[in-house]
Symmetry: C2
Subunit: 230 residues, 2 copies
């Protein structure tokens, strides 16, 4: 699976959250980081090139600050130019059919404000309706959005946890399943083993790996038992 | 009441609907037509000037083609630049408080597609949630949107009816009430009388005027009767 992350932010170096995600973006042939304002500083989009890029990827992620409950103007221009009739929709426009559409939203307000009675008053599910309708028209699968609330108040541990969730959102096919996450952690562990590690750390990591595998076997046995009795 | 119509369209002369609304826009000190792409061809918005304009008006209308269930990029840039914290929201940002926010949407698909099971699959009420949330944050009253579906298929009579509804949406305080519409029609009639009219037309118009007034009196009597017996 190849993932394209289309980032829109008018001043990425001035945004601590965008900078954090960019600086820790995994080096992988399966992941493409694509910041529109850097690539098109004059705002003129190469539609054909963008359409080629879309075709080469399976999961398309739109990553942006949630300005006025929508994207910055640059990404809106991109949607209007690139997702054209005949390419993305309409009788002969099926280039994105069957692909996945995800959102990574950087949100300034607190999660609790996005509900009735909250200061924002509407849910993220309601506010992202235009993107859901777009996915429907493009015949894409709309993924559960990845929401980053109030990055500025996160401590180091919360930021690390965010980063893991973000990388899983980009890379894992079924990113919400426990089994898929296990596999991803095991992959990360095996990659770690290849690099230099302080004394004993290698052994500890092997133990963790075994522990994850054992837990999975136990979960599978419980599942088999439940399936047999149901 | 002063109304500001903020229009966004990248190519207004190529849009028959926008051209129709522009060419027939009423000459009135109470109505301001403001096409962003004409005023700012280089895309650079004079934020202070726009904020002054907003302050001078009571009803703010955003008029645009409903591209990907949202506005063109130019209007999005305008929202992000002009509706700034400290001016439009936040502890000291109350410049728009108590004013009205309306939408005039030019929509290519048919009305029946905007429902579950329809080709678009979502209602206009759901798709415009971001604008409703914005009105809430700005402490503005959100007006029922004025929706223009499939202008290209309208005949002359439908276009005339559209124009009357549009002008009422811009000018009438309580644009959905029968009483307010009556008053507006009477005003239009009295303005007509001042200009040259073919023989007998003046008399016919006077008759129509009297008829509207008589109907209103009868309605009021019925209302009084109902109020007395309830």
């Amino acid at each position: 699976m190849k993932t394209l992350v289309i980032v829109s932010h008018p001043d990425i170096s001035g945004s601590s959250s965008q900078k954090y995600l960019k600086d820790s973006f995994p080096q992988s042939e399966a992941l493409t980081y694509h910041h529109l304002e850097t690539i098109y500083p004059d705002g003129k989009i190469d539609t054909k090139q963008e359409q080629r890029l879309l075709k080469e990827h399976d999961r398309i992620i739109l990553q942006f600050p949630f300005y006025w409950y929508s994207s910055p103007a640059m990404l809106k221009q991109w949607l209007d130019d690139v997702l054209a009739e005949g390419f993305a929709y309409g009788p002969r426009g099926t280039a994105l059919k069957g692909k996945e559409l995800g959102l990574v939203l950087i949100i300034g307000a607190a999660e609790k404000e996005y509900q009735v009675g909250g200061r924002e008053g509407f849910t993220i599910s309601a506010l992202t309706t235009p993107y859901q309708a777009m996915a429907k028209k493009l015949q894409m699968t709309f993924l559960k959005p990845f929401l980053i609330y109030q990055f500025q108040y996160m401590n180091e541990q919360e930021k690390m946890r965010l980063l893991i969730g973000y990388q899983q959102y980009l890379a894992i096919h079924d990113f919400d399943s426990l089994r898929a996450k296990e596999r991803w952690y095991l992959e990360q562990l095996s990659q770690l083993n290849e690099t230099y590690l302080p004394e004993n750390s290698g052994f500890i990591l092997e133990q963790i790996e075994e522990f994850i595998i054992d837990t999975r076997m136990e979960l599978d046995e419980i599942q088999m038992y439940l399936d047999g009795t149901s």
